[in-house]
Symmetry: C2
Subunit: 225 residues, 2 copies
């Protein structure tokens, strides 16, 4: 099948810049590889992911994948970094400093739950990364700088709560965050074995809502005086 020469020439000669109708578009190509790779790695883990499958899903030639990302492992790292940037960016919309202590904890818990629920691929990538003992996370300078911003804000919030006599004085910010994350992560990432064994559909709308309220309740109950 031949390309129509005249058409391409006519377009480029018109002087319009980056019309998004270009036959060649590095940014879009890169983005579609990243999206396809995120799906493939989340779905199959790093050992099960197939480079050819990523190329096909992205609608590009496999050569391009190596052109933009080097090799399979570097592509995986780019996917992981992108996923972390995603949650850290979303976190910024949370303004814990403006809220009453109990309200703040509740918002943090619901935000975390909501993010996990909407981003199953993030949970899956975390699972893969931990299977490999954070091998790629540890070698990523970019991710080591990108530490969670809200542990500090959470510490302030808890401090205010303690000063008001609402929270126990020995409450630790990281442990509070781990509690919230644990309850959300486990419920969602292990839903398949749990639903099978206990015969309850954990993704049922009603059950999801019960669990969301449960996380808030548990977290608050554990830190109150």
């Amino acid at each position: 099948m031949e390309k129509i020469r005249g058409e391409a020439k006519g377009r480029s000669a018109s002087g319009r810049r980056a019309e998004r109708t270009l036959q060649r578009d590095p940014e879009r190509t890169r983005a579609s590889i990243l999206a396809a790779a995120t799906w493939e790695f989340a779905e199959n883990g790093i050992g099960g992911a197939r480079v050819d499958a990523i190329a096909e899903r992205a609608g590009i030639n496999k050569r391009m994948l190596y052109h933009y990302f080097g090799d399979k492992e570097q592509l995986y790292l780019a996917v992981l970094e992108d996923a972390y940037v995603g949650i850290r960016t979303a976190e910024k919309s949370l303004n814990l400093s403006d809220l009453e202590p109990e309200q703040g904890i509740s918002e943090l818990a619901m935000f975390t739950w909501g993010y996990f629920l909407e981003h199953p691929e993030f949970l899956s990538l975390l699972g893969t990364e931990n299977l490999h003992r954070a091998r790629w996370l540890r070698q990523s300078t970019r991710l080591k700088e990108l530490h969670s911003s809200f542990i500090d804000k959470l510490a302030d919030l808890l401090q205010r709560g303690k000063a008001e006599g609402l929270f126990r004085p020995d409450v630790d910010p990281l442990n509070v965050y781990l509690t919230i994350a644990a309850l959300g992560y486990f419920y969602l990432s292990n839903q398949y074995t749990l639903s099978t064994i206990f015969g309850r559909d954990l993704m049922d709308k009603g059950n999801l809502d019960v669990w969301k309220r449960h996380i808030v309740h548990v977290t608050l109950a554990s830190i109150r005086r």
Copy 2:
């Protein structure tokens, strides 16, 4: 390298039965394949596990692996079944019905935590199985029969607590168990990314102990009236 004929004949002719010095020992071979496969699947996931690596680790010829287990997937299923049998067997040592309600919850939480801590391979296999949406667990008739025995016992325990006015009347047994499991599972299975990002060694003896007490505290705080 030649086998020494006389030695082997002499041994078998002596009339002693199953001296455990047999050159051929089906049970031991099977067991060593299973142990090696458990390690390999837990370490690399199903996609990353290598049949040759399992054979080498088990000290057997690869042919034997197919002889005893059929193929890689059936071997994985055998590993998964074995792991579940392990925890269900251990659960039986718990006698919740003999304990006071609060004491019972505390024992259950500490037992679960202890088991997870001593069996990282079980957590890893759960992660792999969930990545694949419980594909093998669902097709295993053996595992579907092997449901967790202590949800019923836990229900009784909670019922007693409710009757004594200790626990809230709306407390759900499965949610209590999920809470306990979630707090243990997430802390341990995600320790690598968490330690890297938050700069705290979660496997430090002191931190492990704090978390154990934390699980008990959180669980009790969430169900008390």
